[in-house]
């Protein structure tokens, strides 16, 4: 097992390296971060050249990638433009945990920018994930126990609609019903945008209230794939011999269903959830945009718009690394839960 883990970790390194190469090449055409640094004033061309040089943006892409990867504190930089490299670099490179500094917010480390938004995203996404998994478990088990019944067909249809629904459409519909129409009818209505009412402040109640609509929207969209999956694994398990044995020895139905069947049926679900967990980090770009939730998705959109390469690279590499790590963790957990699986 240890050998397996080590091998997987070693395989992950070239993978992340390839990802970083692909992304770095894609970053090269993001736009010019220096062009609008002067605010409303047009940047003077001498300042423009100086800024580009100081930020290291005048270097060829290979050199920029090398500095991003392994830092530049081992070499000297030419910051005053006289052709002589005199200042030693300060960057340590991502391999030594230095994600660089934001170009737009001059000097703020990328990780600081990301940490400011990460909790907001995690609050939203983890709540949504819990709602999705619980809802899908209930619906999936019910569907499997009442296969081809009216309710099963209803759940199937509903999950197909959710699966095909663009998130903004359901979000706009929910906003219209629960915010606009409820307000018009004089009922208690839900807030639509932001994380809290600035007049009340960032209290737990406020955040919870503002989370309701985005969480429901995301749940309706993602509920389908989980519940279909649980339904099919549950059906498979229910037809096994040991379930018949459990039934015939007179165990009560709930014990058979929830202890014997569900425990084994939920094994494959661990894989699906485990592989989806790292994606929670990235937040939901579209959802956060509609509900104006100050999370990672919106951070990403904002910084892509301002061509802030270090921050954008930082976000993407964090997600990619999380995906790689969670794939390994999922495999290990799966082997631990299911003794039939051996990786050696």
């Amino acid at each position: 097992m240890t050998r397996y883990i080590v091998r997987r970790l070693l395989q992950g390194i070239p993978l992340l390296f390839i990802i970083s190469l692909i992304l770095f090449v894609l970053m090269m055409n993001m736009g010019d971060p220096v062009a609008n640094m002067g605010g409303r004033r047009v940047t003077r061309s001498s300042d423009y050249i100086r800024l580009k040089r100081q930020l290291g943006l005048d270097k060829p892409i290979v050199v920029q990638y090398a500095y991003w990867l392994i830092g530049n504190d081992w070499t000297k930089m030419d910051l005053d433009g006289d052709g002589i490299a005199e200042t030693s670099g300060t960057r340590h490179g991502i391999l030594r945990g230095d994600f660089g500094t934001s170009l737009v917010n001059r000097g703020v480390p990328v990780l600081t920018v990301i940490w400011q938004r990460l909790p907001n995203t995690l609050i939203l996404m983890i709540s949504a994930e819990i709602v999705i998994v619980l809802g899908a478990l209930l619906a999936g088990v019910y569907s499997a126990l009442h296969q081809y019944s009216g309710a099963d067909n209803l759940i199937t249809t509903f999950s197909f609609i959710g699966y095909s629904m663009p998130i903004f459409f359901i979000a706009l519909i929910l906003m219209t019903i629960f915010a606009v129409l409820f307000k018009r009818w004089g009922l208690p209505y839900l807030p639509t945008v932001g994380m809290f009412d600035p007049q009340v402040g960032k209290t737990v109640g406020q955040v919870l209230l503002h989370m309701v609509l985005p969480v429901i929207s995301m749940s309706i969209i993602s509920f389908a794939s989980y519940s279909r999956y649980i339904r099919s694994t549950m059906l498979e398990v229910l037809s096994q011999d040991y379930i018949r044995t459990a039934r015939s020895k007179g165990l009560p139905r709930p014990v058979v269903v929830y202890i014997h069947a569900l425990k084994n049926a939920s094994l494959p679900i661990v894989t699906v959830v485990g592989l989806d967990l790292p994606l929670l980090l990235g937040g939901a770009v579209v959802t956060e945009r509609i509900f104006a939730w100050p999370g990672m998705g919106r951070l990403f959109l904002d910084y892509v718009g301002r061509a802030d390469t270090p921050v954008v690279m930082g976000i993407l590499m964090l997600i990619a690394a999380a995906v790689v790590v969670f794939q390994i963790i999922t495999d290990i957990v799966y082997a631990w839960l299911d003794p039939r699986i051996r990786y050696d």
Binding site: G31, L172, I319
Partner: protein, 318 residues
Amino acid sequence: MAEIVKPLPKIATIPVDELETPPLSLAQLTWRRFLRHKMAVAGGVVLLLLILYAFGGALFFRESYANYNDTSLSLAPPSLAHPFGTDSIGRDIFARTVYGGQISLLIGLFAVTIETCVGILIGAIAGYYGGIIDNILMRFTEAMLNIPEIFLLIVMAKFFGGKIPELTIFGRLYSGSLIVIIVIIGLTSWMYLARIVRAEFLSLKANEFVLAARATGTSNRQIIFRHILPNSVAPIVVTATLGVANAILAEAYISFLGLGVQPPTATWGNMLDGANQYIESAPWLWFFPGLLILLTVLSINFLGDGLRDALDPRGRAI
């Protein structure tokens, strides 16, 4: 011996049309299984109606009407003159959903064409040649899969954005961003298909007919495209069908974020850009394009689901 041989000519003399059940071809079997799938048939019908809506509607008014704006009529609610209302600068939403539908459906189709070509090529080469080529191609595929699709789409939209000038095809002017969107959706979605094709090739290339083809001196290209590929067409068709739905959704998302096809060319996605500012005042602005996207994606998903069941070689029963 004689008893066994005797009945044979009797059976052979029965003409085909006198047999109680004429033999079914593979296509007929598949078609029958598909027809049993009620939701898939319904999906197919709805999809046909939507195609008719987008392309037939163009017979009744010109694209210039869909792009014509009358600011005095901005945000007018649905009426007889404008059945779906007008948008924030007074364009008729009904006409725009018709022309936007054409673009959205075409984006889905062309993006999937790119997706399928890239996916088949990479999957086939990796699966057929194996070894180091397989290793490199699959690491690349895995790397692309590890970046969430929406992030990759946004980065790619930025990378290719604003480079291609407007172009005229069949007398209609298209925003150059249309090509960009088709290419980036194609380039961000081929990975699953490549894996499926690779798996198919890995198992098929061990068959005798491949060995026979190789023994008779057939070139590698011939073996890949003439001998192995036709045998793995079923999963490719299913993946491509479902891929159209995903491509339409991807276009909607990227256009909703304002990074997609640029106006005046309408798509169902970019008609929704900025719609969330009007939830209170003009719900018709986003309701109709959103509903059309939902209907299209839903019907394609049902269609693909039915195709999967119909083409599944394990379910050969009629």
